[in-house]
Each structure stands twice: as structure tokens, then as C-alpha cells.
Symmetry: C2
Subunit: 144 residues, 2 copies
DNA sequence: CAATAGGTTTAGCCAATGCTAAACTTGTGC
DNA sequence: GCACAAGTTTAGCATTGGCTAAACCTATTG
């Protein structure tokens, strides 16, 4: 069987990157939910499951199920048939998400991208930028 | 029951963004696999399942299962116990991924980000940038 | 040319994230 | 103060993407 190993170092680094992406994906969903809940509380005074479902474009039942997981993770609290609240950790995560989101979106706009696209792309990108990249984006914005 | 609707337009757009992200995620995995397979073919002359598994940081069995799906999607072909080939569509997807990847990575480097971080972040970001954003990045690189 | 080491596949499991349809609360309005 | 509409939750299902352990090929080598 062919068994060559030309550049052993690179493979490991690459696989680490892929691992991180997979890990990101699990927290990504949680961040999206939590961020949205924070927005709803600020905007309307309360976060209802059905509103979350509508804004996220998923079914009601999906939100219920996810809320259980977020509750287990200690990010939200909720009584049946009541609206959703964030825990301290939940707020922290929401704030962090908003911070990243703002930087990325502002950065894309500064790059000359349309508002529409900046909104959509930043939503996707925000979960995949390291602190180093965020710092570089902030630097760019300051220098601009 | 509370039934307020203050800004009906925004919600729909947001949910569209989230929908796109979810849709991206399914193709994302496929793109990562296909891109890696293309790299292996170019680099070593053939793409073996176990090599894909190692580089992706995933178990062998996972690759086998995923290959079946990619085969159903018409992106790869493979005989049992043989190495993996890309179809025309597979090559097209791989080339597209590489193109995006290159632009994003070069862009991050131009922004002053370390090689290590640029590699990792670009891997995550490449699947979430629109053509408009790619064009802006390319423009930035040209103007630099 | 047969044994065997080592790479591949199968089988069976798990968790996450969605869905629809049915059952269940709640709060309003009569 | 009860009925009912509308909002919530449960139940049950599907798919994706991962894992381990066991079964299975293949090609090298003695």
C-alpha cells in the first residue's frame, strides 16, 4: 500500500484548523440564539420563543428544543409558556457576539461593501474570526 | 397574548441571512472535503480516504460515509478499496473553493495578520463571503 | 503463492438541528 | 367565570456528521 509522507507538519496544522471550525459550529448556533434573545429583550422588553423562531426562520418546536440545550448550558432560563431570559453567562456571550458583529460589519462597510451584503456576510463571518483578526479590523477602521 | 409587530421588514431579512448560513453549512463540509481531495490529487497523485481522514482530523469511517453522500451529490467517484476521484462538478467546486480561499488568505495577510492565524481564519471565513465581498478584497489587494 | 500486516468498509451507536402534527396552556372577551 | 383562539410544548421522525469496534480486502514479502 502506498505510504508516502512528504510534509508531515502541514497536515497536523490543517486538521487543527478543521477541528476548530467543527467546534465553532456547535457554539455558533448558541451564539446566534443568545444574541437574538438579547436583541429582543432590548428591543421589545421580552423574548418570546415564537418571535425567536420567526426571526431565525425556524419552526417553533425547534426553538423549544434548542432552549432546553441552552438552559443546560446555563445560558438562558425559561419557565414553560413564559418568555426567555438570559443568565449572566448568556449576556456575556451576547455582548461578545454583538461586539464581534459590529466590528466585522463596520469593517465590511469600510471596505466598500453594500449594507445588505455587509449585514449578511458579517452574520456568517463573525463566528470565524479570531481575536487577532478582529484587532486588525479595528486597527484598519481606526486608521481609515 | 402579546402580539406586537414594530418593524416587520427587518425580521424577514435577518431570517433570510440565518437561512443562508444554515444552507452554507451543508455545502461547507462538502467543499472542505472536495478541496482537500483536489489538493491531495495534485500533491500526491491520488486521494486516499485515510489521508483525507487524517488531514481533516476525522475518523476513517466518517470519510467513508461522507464519500457516499458526495457520490450521491455527483461530486466524487470511488470504487471500494480504491482512491477517490473528482467529477467535473467536483473539480469545479474545488477550484472555486481554492479561488475563494486564496483571496481571503491573501487579504488577511495583507491586513497584517500572522500566517498561522490567516490560514486558520481563512478556512472558516471562505465559506461565508459573498462574491461582492470577494471582489472588494481583491480590489484591496490590487490597490495595496 | 500463501500469510499477514495494514488500510478500508460495515455495523451500530450518539448528539445536534430541523420538521410536522397533535396535545396542551393561557389570557381575553363575552 | 368560561370558552375559545392563539401561542407553546410534546411526540415522533429524518438527516447530518461524528465515533469505535469488528469484519473485510489487498498487496507485499518471505
Amino acid at each position: 500500500m502506498p505510504q508516502r509522507a512528504k510534509r508531515p507538519g502541514t497536515a497536523k496544522i490543517r486538521s487543527a484548523a478543521f477541528r476548530r471550525i467543527r467546534a465553532d459550529h456547535s457554539s455558533e448556533l448558541a451564539e446566534d440564539y443568545v444574541e437574538l434573545i438579547a436583541d429582543l429583550i432590548d428591543e421589545k422588553g421580552e423574548a418570546r420563543g415564537s418571535e425567536v423562531a420567526m426571526r431565525l426562520g425556524v419552526a417553533n418546536a425547534t426553538v423549544v428544543k434548542t432552549m432546553k440545550r441552552l438552559q443546560d448550558m446555563g445560558l438562558v432560563t425559561q419557565e414553560p409558556y413564559r418568555s426567555i431570559f438570559l443568565t449572566g453567562d448568556g449576556w456575556k456571550m451576547a455582548e461578545d457576539g454583538r461586539r464581534k458583529h459590529k466590528i466585522v460589519e463596520a469593517f465590511l462597510l469600510a471596505l466598500g461593501i453594500s449594507e445588505e451584503t455587509a449585514r449578511i456576510d458579517s452574520e456568517g463571518i463573525e463566528h470565524h474570526v479570531s481575536e487577532e483578526t478582529l484587532r486588525a479590523m479595528a486597527r484598519f477602521l481606526a486608521r481609515k
